[in-house]
Symmetry: C7
Subunit: 96 residues, 7 copies
Amino acid sequence: MSIKPLKDRVVVKYVEEEKEETTKGGIVLPDTAKKDEKPQQAEVVAVGNKIAPEGEEAEVAVGDTVVFDKYAGTKVELDSEEYIILSMEDVLAVIE
Amino acid sequence: MSIKPLKDRVVVKYVEEEKEETTKGGIVLPDTAKKDEKPQQAEVVAVGNKIAPEGEEAEVAVGDTVVFDKYAGTKVELDSEEYIILSMEDVLAVIE
Amino acid sequence: MSIKPLKDRVVVKYVEEEKEETTKGGIVLPDTAKKDEKPQQAEVVAVGNKIAPEGEEAEVAVGDTVVFDKYAGTKVELDSEEYIILSMEDVLAVIE
Amino acid sequence: MSIKPLKDRVVVKYVEEEKEETTKGGIVLPDTAKKDEKPQQAEVVAVGNKIAPEGEEAEVAVGDTVVFDKYAGTKVELDSEEYIILSMEDVLAVIE
Amino acid sequence: MSIKPLKDRVVVKYVEEEKEETTKGGIVLPDTAKKDEKPQQAEVVAVGNKIAPEGEEAEVAVGDTVVFDKYAGTKVELDSEEYIILSMEDVLAVIE
Amino acid sequence: MSIKPLKDRVVVKYVEEEKEETTKGGIVLPDTAKKDEKPQQAEVVAVGNKIAPEGEEAEVAVGDTVVFDKYAGTKVELDSEEYIILSMEDVLAVIE
Amino acid sequence: MSIKPLKDRVVVKYVEEEKEETTKGGIVLPDTAKKDEKPQQAEVVAVGNKIAPEGEEAEVAVGDTVVFDKYAGTKVELDSEEYIILSMEDVLAVIE
């Protein structure tokens, strides 16, 4: 089962990072204490067939790490994995 | 009696999923406890005649399972069945 | 006396349905108890002369039952009958 | 002294209707009790010179009774008469 | 010193009207009691060089009395005179 | 060090006026008492290279005194001088 | 690791300025006391490949100091450095 974005949309997925989940004193931070740390980078897992204007090369490809506006996109859960569907206009940059 | 969407619209219908409606302790969850779980996936049951730009193939067909923005569309009841009428621009992806 | 909608507008009128106006116990429901049941279907009684793009056939005709966005349109009373004037872009589907 | 609307605008004026201004019991209704009864029909008294797209016949003429959106237009008083200046896009229909 | 409006703008100035500034009983009305009586008519004192589409005659000229939307325009004071700078699209009609 | 506005933007600077800063009684007015007196006129100190449509002469030049919408523009401080960067569409008129 | 902005976007970075961080009395100002002093100038560190209309020279280059609207752009952190991704339309001027 896979997800195929339409038109100029891309599907991204957060990459698991090894982060210290406890503070120096060993206290586990509850979610509410971290709520502003919404990541803005994710890996592209699928792209629509109109992500570039006709006759131009796409600036983004599957596997790229992209930066996007943190209020953009629609979250969707599939097979217990969380994805975000973004319009290309909300993809701001590629990390190389 | 059937519903024929106009222009670039599609009509979708939630697919019945077998879900555990009671908690582990056997308690039936009232609707209010689940109100954020609005599904974002549904099956396409009818399509308008302009869902693709002229000369292009449609990306969505009757029978497809689609993902859409949860605040999009207009609910309509017909013969005691609930449908959602969506504009193609609110259809984000197809599940394959 | 009749109403002629301009441009891409249509005039619709709710069809009288035989509905049980009293509850099982025989209690007449006051209007306030039913206020969310605003019907979204009505019959087309007049159409403007630009309801279809030039050279295309109209998708809606007088006599059709149409579904429309419940916040769309302008109510107007004429000869004690209530009509709704809708723009074609607020007509979502036709019931066949 | 007369008013000449610019471009696609029309000037309308409410027609005096003979209405029973007192209730059955003979009580004169104060304005505040009737404030939702804003009429939506008026007679066209002047039209701008661009009320129809070039090469097309106008759908509205001086003397017509038109229906318009009750929040549209700008009220203006001239020689103690009240007029409403409307853009043609707020004129919804003609009563024939 | 004079004011030259740019593009499709016009500069207007309220014409002094001889108005009874005191009530019948001789009481001078303070400004706060009259604040809804903002006039909507004024005389055109200057016009920009694009007040008409190219090749068309302007519908407004210096000296005309025009009606405008009362929330439109920008007030500006010059040599102790108050002017309003309006875009032509906020000029609704000419009084003839 | 100088500031070069991009595209259709202009940079303006308030001209120092000799104003009586104290009231008749000799009381210095604090800023809060004057906050609505935001000036709307300033001198143009730099212009972008697209302040006029192609092939047309610019209506504004360095040295002109212009009137602008008081909520328009972005304030910027450079070498302890305050400037406002305006888009040409917010420049309403030139004082001659 | 570097950041490549898409289309008409540029990436900017605040330049460290030597500022007196303590008041005359030697008191260190906490961040909250300075929160309105958000700088509006930064150095361009990367540009997208569509920052100028086709066939025109770009008005901004890597290394330039630019002025931008303080509410524009998206902050992003990369390798512990903070960057702002701006659309060219939010870049108001270049400091030369």
